[in-house]
């Protein structure tokens, strides 16, 4: 009885639509060409998807986005957590400041960075020229070579604080005497980081890794706000591919097939995540 309202919402808003998406993905359903109706075609949409270089390209860009953002977020997230864990003057300022990017809505963040990257009026070009690091203004989001990396930076700016706060919480649980023990052995800071801190952080790092991977597979909002998938599809990850197929090309069944594959991909990582939590629980 306590569970019923929660259960009802999950069934109506999630389970039924998910089944409908799967059903759509088994038809030929193109709103621009309804002459043949919407016949059942089995797994044909999936076969076409898997032979479409555009789809593989979007999967590759999702992979690019995922790996690059995880690397940036981890290195900087752990470094900032270590900084917040150490003592220094003015620390309160940084502890407050660091929450702000995380609280800024994704669309606002995207719009903000799009403006920062603006080739002529943007802060980035003006700042780099002012520092004499570059002489010409760059088309950060306008060139296929840099656009995806610039989107990753914008996304990482918002998400690093989350990683840092999670790692900080784990750092605070490491008992001080473990460090004293290795200090007796004459270990320096760098060695004690690799032999104590990192092993202690293993669990939190694994968990954040999986959560951020799921987030990265779904990445859509920031792309919509910053580039719309362009230029020349260079920032179109797989979730945007599904959106584009469904809502721009109105090829419902192809979009549904892509969307369903993404859902299954997140299902796999959700299983990994719940296994991870279970083994962690048992190790306690």
């Amino acid at each position: 009885m306590l569970l019923f309202p929660a259960f009802l919402i999950v069934v109506v808003v999630v389970l039924i639509p998910l089944i409908m998406t799967f059903a759509d993905s088994l038809k030929h359903y193109n709103l621009l060409d309804m002459s043949g109706g919407t016949p059942f075609v089995g797994l044909q949409n999936y076969a076409k998807l898997l032979s479409d270089p555009g789809f593989w390209g979007s999967l590759g860009r999702t992979l690019h986005f995922t790996i690059l953002s995880l690397v940036i977020e981890f290195i900087l997230g752990v470094a900032i957590a270590m900084l917040l864990h150490a003592k220094f003057h003015g620390q309160w300022l940084l502890r407050g400041l660091i929450v702000i990017p995380w609280a800024i809505p994704t669309i606002v963040n995207g719009a903000m960075w799009r403006w920062i990257y603006n080739p002529s009026y943007g802060a980035l070009n003006n700042f780099l020229v002012w520092l004499h690091l570059t002489k010409t203004y760059h088309q950060w989001l306008g060139s296929p070579a840099t656009a995806m990396n610039m989107v990753v930076i914008a996304d990482a700016w918002k998400m690093i604080p989350l990683v840092a706060m999670l790692v900080l919480a784990a750092l605070q649980l490491i008992p001080e005497d473990v460090y004293e023990a290795v200090a007796v052995d004459g270990a320096g800071r760098i060695r004690s980081f690799f032999s104590i801190t990192l092993p202690y952080l293993k669990n939190v790092i694994l968990v954040v890794l999986v959560i951020r991977t799921i987030d990265a597979i779904k990445v859509f909002d920031i792309i919509y706000a910053m580039t719309g998938g362009g230029p020349a599809n260079s920032t179109m990850p797989v979730a945007y591919y599904a959106y584009d197929a469904t809502f721009n090309q109105l090829f419902i069944s192809r979009g549904a097939a892509a969307a369903y594959l993404i859902a299954m991909l997140t299902l796999i990582f959700t299983i990994v995540y719940s296994r991870l939590l279970k083994t962690e629980e048992e190790s306690k």
């Binding site: 220094f88 990017p101 403006w115 009026y121 706060m165 999670l166 706000a225 719940s274």
Partner: protein, 288 residues
């Protein structure tokens, strides 16, 4: 403590402060730039190279947002969208906390068949990408005549906020010993009385942390709002900002003003309840 030479200590201390300065700059500069853009007059905003003249700063765009009565102006649209976002986020957060708390209590205390798989299905519901659900939802709500409605968005947002609150709160409740309620019941409390009077006060930090996250989830949502709404009757602030960015109709100053206002409520919440957040995160995603 780590024993090291004075030179090494000075070096590490320098590294620390230099890094801290860089982090402060990189964190603050982007949103300071957004705030500056919202205050600068349009001609300064669109000058090359960029100029920042403090004496020209004005709050006129903010005043416009609060006063504009022209339904076609971005200022008017932003004000209404802000109202919609606030209404939706508050209702979703409050409802999901209450419903989620009791569901979490059931998961933490009672034993029933399929408990683990049900809990897992809640987790998956929270994780499933909205792009996989949005087209069927559009069809369902358009047949039911429920498109472009705040109630519809509240319902849809609950489908991912609620599993989140259930998931996090049950993680907390498992760690609260069951003897607490039993003692209260022996003292004459009813079943619900024991939950409200004994358990809620114990887990209030968790409830606050969950509330902040739930609010941010609802406030941040974009794709459902984009597809399921069409007018300022139900459009949220994220959708209106994205539409103005895409169309380039407004000068960026107005978008920046809308952006600052849209970022304000979640930022205030996050800063106010910061010390609960870190604890809430560990419970929610690490303990499980």
């Amino acid at each position: 403590m780590i024993v090291e030479s004075r030179a090494s200590r000075t070096m590490w201390s320098t590294v620390k402060y230099v890094f801290a300065l860089i982090v402060v700059f990189c964190t603050a500069a982007p949103f300071l730039w957004l705030i500056i853009s919202s205050l600068e007059p349009t001609q300064d905003l669109y000058s090359v190279p960029v100029v920042i003249r403090l004496r020209d700063f004005s709050f006129s765009r903010y005043a416009q947002i609060f006063q504009s009565s022209d339904p076609n102006s971005p200022a008017y649209v932003f004000r209404h969208a802000m109202g919609n976002s606030i209404e939706i986020a508050i209702v979703v957060t409050v409802v999901c906390l209450i419903v989620g708390f009791f569901a979490a209590y059931a998961f933490a205390r009672l034993n029933f068949r399929f408990k683990r798989s049900l809990l897992f299905s809640f987790l998956f519901t929270y994780m499933v990408p909205s792009i996989s659900l949005v087209m069927p939802l559009y069809i369902i709500f358009s047949r039911a005549g429920m498109l472009d409605s705040k109630f519809t968005l509240m319902l849809v947002y609950s489908s991912f906020v609620l599993p989140y609150t259930v998931w996090v709160l049950q993680g907390y409740l498992v760690s609260v010993p069951g003897e607490l309620e039993e003692a209260a019941r022996v003292d004459g409390c009813t079943y619900f009385g024991a939950i409200i009077r004994v358990i809620v006060p114990v887990v209030i930090p968790a409830i606050i942390a969950t509330a902040v996250f739930a609010l941010l989830l609802a406030w941040d949502e974009f794709l459902y709002a984009l597809i399921l709404t069409s007018t300022i009757h139900a459009q949220t602030i994220s959708v209106t900002i994205a539409s103005f960015v895409g169309k380039n109709v407004a000068d960026f100053g107005m978008i920046a003003t809308g952006g600052v206002l849209a970022a304000l409520p979640p930022t205030i919440f996050a800063l106010l309840f910061q010390r609960f957040i870190v604890g809430g995160m560990t419970a929610g995603s690490v303990k499980g």
